[in-house]
Symmetry: C2
Subunit: 412 residues, 2 copies
């Protein structure tokens, strides 16, 4: 008999019918004798509906009032799910973030959890009840309602699992696990049984939208076993278990590469011939950061004459025009260099903790891409990741070719 | 500079546009230097939407979960109204019933307020902020969300006004005050400047749906000056002030009659020839009460032979068939009597504290109805009220004729 924290997102509770399906699934776990705490998001569409109401009233609503407003979304779901559980004969009690004692800091709309009071939950579990908790929300020390930011329900689930010392935190979603590559463009992609927190973090930040990054960090920090599963009836597989990095006992059989991520939502900007003097990177990136534009890959090369440098980075495509205009001002100010850019790029990344102990990943990657006739435009590496920027047209070819080359193709 | 508690119902905050109008009105009071606490209901339609969701899931949802669910309606409104106030330059803070410390008993869906913590409100008022409080809801001693039952936002308003010792509790509604009769059927009806709590209670229970009865009782008990006003922009009259009964200093000029109420939603049932023995009324009404059927007027007459009695009462028309069937069982059991009934009736009532000190109201009423050719089928009186039951066809004629006879017609 185990204690599970099960989190269901907005799509999984998007209609009354789906809420009933969730209740059935939770009820089955309960009937098997397990203790279950359920964390739910707002019904899909509800948060956007509330935000639209607010925007009709105020261009920049007070963050406190936004949290007051949108936190009602999860409150509706917990009440409905508790009703659905009771309708099916499973005793259940719902709690808002405030009621269950999820104490956060005061950073409205992006609050961080400070502590969780588990007394009420443990009492209910002991009495054989399923506990239904509103995800995404908490309360500061003064009783003001806060929210953890979009996707924060995953974090609520992991934080509750940590506080309750749950055996597993199960995140139900619309995919049945983490894949070696995006199955929509790579038909040979296969579901991973396990993946490490570190790898998952690299994959999440590279564009795999399965889990919210913060919840994965949290799971790593508090060693919470985290499982991603499908919430759809007809697909009750084991999902993917995300395990803490165990540096003392690394698996002998660790695969070189766990997965391949791709991202076609970035654009590349380069300042050609910038003066190669200290502080030039800061001078170029300062105004970009000030404009709240997020920069992803950064590459700098010294040009052959040793006096000037080529400085490249990538930004989200939505920020491309704004970033380019800012760069042109900077170049004019510096009196040197030239700005060029490209929006038709793709970033393809190999991720795997196995990379740490094996050389040759980069050379195999480059060789594979070269034999497929794909030109590499930018390279960036971390300890367990290699990312390359290529022409967008070649995205699928690159992912498929690398998938085969690194032995990830599923057995037929 | 006064302290006002202003309550706006669901229609007054039914759309984003109307919420902005409410913010403008509240802002004007604030700019005049008054302190304002605003109590709001859920946007019209929202509570019904939530109840429909619950009914799709469970025939009889747990009352605790129902309160968890429907209390989100007011929470949405308070956040939106606080945003609208800030948009117009009026600093504002919203509070749920739980946050502001409206402590109730545990009677989910029909809780009663036990106490209110005014500390947070007073601090905000001192800081020059408008305080926006969710009506209709509170929290029990253990932190469970409760609601006060439909229309409970009026009660929240009055209770807050009492706790804060406000100068006035203003209930904004879709009528501009309390009238001497229903203006839709009596064109000469006029708005009352003042009415006593006692009169208002009689009028409310007689079918004038301006205010919730409980809030009026509360206002009387705690001597809260209560004003009913129109929430519509183009009708900013003074409304009607509901004043506490002042038995020590009655006004010398108290009018005989304050208003005429009518109700065409009742049906009459009579047991003819019931045995005139102790306990017969209880025997007749017991099963009616057990079936949760509310009984209004009750009249009993001894029949000429002194051995049997005719027992009549009125019930809501929706309960007529059920009540009649129950009565027929009772009559069969008693082995005596006969059940007759009529659904085409109207109850017309005169209300006025002036009645207490003046004789002759009943005789003038009966004389007036007789000269209009209206037959009286039942009579019932209280200290400040006379009600008659007549044929439904004569409702408007009766109200208009009595309105003129008792000098209530407005000056031309």
């Amino acid at each position: 008999m185990a204690l599970y924290v099960q989190k269901f997102g907005g799509t999984s509770v998007g209609t009354v019918e789906r809420i009933k399906k969730v209740a059935e699934r939770v009820g089955r776990f309960r009937k098997e004798g397990h203790d279950v705490v359920v964390v739910v998001s707002a019904m899909s569409g509800e948060t956007n509906r509330l935000i639209a109401l607010a925007k009709d009233i105020h261009d920049e609503p007070s963050p406190r009032e936004m949290d007051m407003l949108v936190s009602t979304g999860e409150q509706v779901t917990i009440a409905l799910l508790a009703m659905a559980l009771e309708q099916q004969g499973t005793p259940a009690t719902s709690y808002t973030g405030a009621q269950v004692g999820i104490i956060t800091d005061k950073a409205y709309t992006k609050a961080r959890i400070k502590k969780i009071d588990t007394e009420a939950i443990n009492q209910d579990l002991k009495a054989g009840r399923v506990v239904v908790v509103a995800g995404f929300q908490g309360v500061d020390e003064e009783g003001n309602i806060t929210t953890l930011g979009r996707g924060g329900s995953d974090t609520t689930g992991v934080a509750l699992a940590a506080a309750l010392k749950a055996d597993e935190c199960q995140i139900y979603t619309d995919v049945d696990g983490v894949y070696t590559a995006d199955p929509r463009i790579c038909s040979k992609a296969s579901r991973l049984d396990t993946i490490t927190v570190e790898e998952m973090l690299e994959l999440a930040s590279l564009g795999s939208k399965v889990l919210q990054i913060r919840s994965v960090e949290f799971a790593g920090k508090y060693k919470v076993p985290l499982r991603v599963l499908s919430s759809f009836e007809d697909n009750e597989g084991p999902g993917t278990l995300i395990v803490a990095d165990d540096e003392e006992n690394p698996s002998m059989e660790e695969p070189l590469i766990s997965g391949i991520a791709h991202n076609t939502n970035e654009a590349k900007l380069t300042v050609l011939g910038a003066p190669d003097i200290p502080g030039v990177a800061a001078r170029i990136l300062g105004p970009i950061g000030d404009a709240n534009i997020e920069v992803d890959m950064i590459v700098q090369n010294v040009s052959p004459d040793g006096k000037s440098t080529d400085f490249s980075f990538t930004v989200g495509r939505g920020d491309y025009k704004k970033a380019k205009a800012l760069l042109e001002d900077i170049v004019t100010e510096m009196g040197a260099g030239k700005v060029v850019g490209d929006t038709a790029i793709a970033k393809v990344s190999l991720v795997g903790v196995g990379m740490r102990s094996h050389a040759g990943v980069a050379s195999l990657m480059f060789k594979t891409l070269a034999s497929a006739g794909i030109n590499i435009r930018m390279v960036s590496t971390s300890e367990i990741k290699i990312s390359v920027v290529i022409d967008e047209n070649f995205t699928e070819l690159a992912v498929r070719t690398l998938h085969t080359a690194f032995g990830l193709d599923k057995a037929e």
